[in-house]
Symmetry: C2
Subunit: 259 residues, 2 copies
Amino acid sequence: MNQEEELQKQSYDVNKYRTPDGAPADIVMFTITKRERKMMTKMLPIYELKVMLIRRRKWPCAGLWALPGGFAGENESMHGAARRELKEETGVDGGHLEYLGVYSKPGRDPRGWIISHAFFALVAESVLEKRRAADDAEAVGLFTIHEALNELELAFDHRDIIEDAYRRIQLQMLQTTIAKQFLPEHFTLGELYQVIKTVVPDFEEPNFIRKITSTRSRKGILEEVRDENGKKLSSNQYSQRPAQLYRFTDIVPKLSIYT
Amino acid sequence: MNQEEELQKQSYDVNKYRTPDGAPADIVMFTITKRERKMMTKMLPIYELKVMLIRRRKWPCAGLWALPGGFAGENESMHGAARRELKEETGVDGGHLEYLGVYSKPGRDPRGWIISHAFFALVAESVLEKRRAADDAEAVGLFTIHEALNELELAFDHRDIIEDAYRRIQLQMLQTTIAKQFLPEHFTLGELYQVIKTVVPDFEEPNFIRKITSTRSRKGILEEVRDENGKKLSSNQYSQRPAQLYRFTDIVPKLSIYT
DNA sequence: CTAATAGTGTCTGTGAGACAATATGGT
DNA sequence: ACCATATTGTCTCACAGACACTATTAG
């Protein structure tokens, strides 16, 4: 650094300006719960998209439900803070964690100028159940997206965040292969279809199997699971007739409105 | 607020924690320049995707090229700050301005703990030229994306930001109708094709006109321009044979890998 | 046999892809 | 006539969409 630079540096005062009072990472944790239907005969379970919320104990917004999260420290990135929080809350390290956006509307947090960073995570149902058992069950809730948005009083602007996250996960569900986060390694097309419909209720594709098993454009994102002898594997967990098992390949589909 | 809440509030000290030293909004301003080729006969112009950069005068990173931007204030959202900066820099109020992401890697800014918010904007070439004329031309540069990424020394982590913005605009170009930001109200399919190819060089569609003018799935995003008598309008600005003019409709295309 | 899910047959229409052929109008 | 660009003709094959039909197996 030359002399002039050194001079400029010394004349810079970081405290000259009003600075933010904190930058938390808040995480919308989604899971899909499966509820077996009690029936004589095998049936597909009922799937529901759920969100984990925490009941706040302290000011501000004490008593309201809020997204899990916490303030980032000086020596971590926002993404790092989110990963840390996710691990603290669920014990999960890894899994799908994705940045959603920044929430910075003035006055959104009575503590001051708090710029919040929202993420969303997709975790297995079992993980959240564990978390719920470990902690005070009173303070941890798993709600359907509908309950969270329409029936709960939420802290800060967390309703906006959850709405945005819901829109985003619906987009992703149709445009990427995140469905795999909600499915076992091997799954039937019936399961895949149910998972998609759970996240995107409007999704209707009467000929789903037909399309998924043909189609040049989609070709490659799914492949049949075979055993070591090359024989196709199937499952009859949810149906009398065994269904072919599939897995996602590593192919990343590219979509375009002009192609 | 009841008594207990009041108590908790008073015991909360915002200064108890280390807080960020600032939250700037940085904007990647894209434009597409058109260069007419000097030829006897009419030809399509050469299109280039460019980025506006500013040469920093002060510490830190004095002398390096940086994205235009500035710190957000306490009474504005990050998006508001970006809109304000965009207006200050270009005079443009409106246009396409979109959030890109947060850049918060520790040590990214020698001034301290600075959490930067990147946006990208698409503006008309004429606007940036005006800006360049108004200001000290030395300090404002318009570079091709290739120059910016490979030949320039950039401040902070702005290279990462520009790379991310480039990836994002390429995605958007194929999956949304942002191409309209780079086109006049009415345009020919040749122009549209060139704009797409400028942003996404890999895009190859030999039968472009064919597909765009048929196709069930894309149907609706474009429509022919007609005069008040319903006669189709055409332009021969870039070709001898006049070409049909089109405009984007308001239809938002929905893409899915499963449909 | 029945119930519930998995998967195929069949038929029609239309788009994709390739490429050749033709249209337009300034120079 | 020539050129660069715009647009249509033509042909084949694959897929979309609809819907009825068959397959599988526990109970």
